[in-house]
Symmetry: C2
Subunit: 197 residues, 2 copies
């Protein structure tokens, strides 16, 4: 299928999911909204779960290239701002939150969510590989745990607590995980040494 047509179908799938929920998502509705024949869609994706799984992993709306800012801290802050935007800025947020929320209830959609996270992590690994080459990350550090901590914090704060993510959230969360919360912060350490008024 032509990439542009495929993206139209994915876009229609995600819009319909955001508007009507997983229960309201149908291949018929996607056909209508995208202007692509229903039987053509079924030929490529045998079910709405398969279609949504493909859309979650391949739709331009939800895909972003991993950052390369020159430092692990900069890359993780950029990644985290991306996760925050994905979960709080429409239209991507309407789609991402609806899909991930629905994945909790629908086993066939849970597989799609797992593919979505596995695919993201495969791309995020470049960030950690570069950090190791620069000597910024010990070999014992666990990249998936780092991403679980950071992305999980955004989900908990924004979706479950319903609290706003201020500008400092990404920097604060990354500092906590990279430096540890028991280590005095650089500014405070300097202050206690009398280096800062």
């Amino acid at each position: 299928m032509a990439p542009r047509k495929e993206q139209q179908i994915f876009q229609a799938t995600l819009e319909l999911l955001a508007a009507k929920g997983y229960e309201g998502l149908t291949v018929e509705g996607v056909a209508e909204r995208s202007g692509v024949n229903k039987t053509t869609i079924y030929r490529w994706w045998p079910s709405k779960a398969a279609l949504l799984a493909a859309a979650l992993v391949e739709a331009d709306l939800l895909v972003s290239a991993p950052p390369d800012t020159g430092s692990l801290r900069g890359d993780l802050e950029a990644l985290l701002r991306g996760v925050a935007a994905l979960l709080t800025s429409p239209p991507a947020a309407d789609v991402a939150v609806a899909a991930l929320g629905a994945a909790v209830h629908h086993p066939e959609l849970a597989t799609a969510a797992q593919r979505f996270f596995a695919d993201r992590f495969a791309r995020e690994e470049a960030v950690f590989a570069r950090a190791r080459r620069r000597g910024e990350l010990p070999d014992t550090a666990d990249p998936m745990l780092i991403m679980d901590l950071l992305a999980g914090a955004v989900w908990l704060r924004a979706v479950f607590r319903g609290l706003p993510l201020d500008d400092d959230f990404a920097a604060g969360a990354v500092a906590a995980v990279l430096d540890g919360v028991t280590r005095p912060k650089a500014a405070d350490a300097a202050k206690s040494l009398g280096e800062v008024p």
Copy 2:
């Protein structure tokens, strides 16, 4: 209402939610399952959302006293094992995951989820207050961020990635946040100093 009767109603509410989802939850169903008259339930909780909100915060099934192990590390590991059990061990997990997943779609339930997390955090604060008194945590550390990182990691790993939480997960996540992932681990540092064969 007598506490035992109230707990029977909450228990029935949560069981029904886990079995039938939020759409399938009705005050009539709770009345039938708990043996308490429907009009009595409505007198105390005017809607199924209000009833579920109360159950999420007050049901014995989901409430646990914050740990007091004598150290921040021990307390956070215990808290995190509690979150892991809540999200992965039935029957609490069926209820908690169903309720939190449904909160994403239903604004009136989102408020209940917010109360659930606010109530847990109010109890978790004792852990951080004790850690500060013991000098284990700088004043600049942000307890809510620490809980968002840790509990969020459990949610992401167990629910979204669908991966098992092994015994080391709680200890590893707590070590990452307390010590920082860029700090060499104690065992490795000792090894590099030749203290461990």
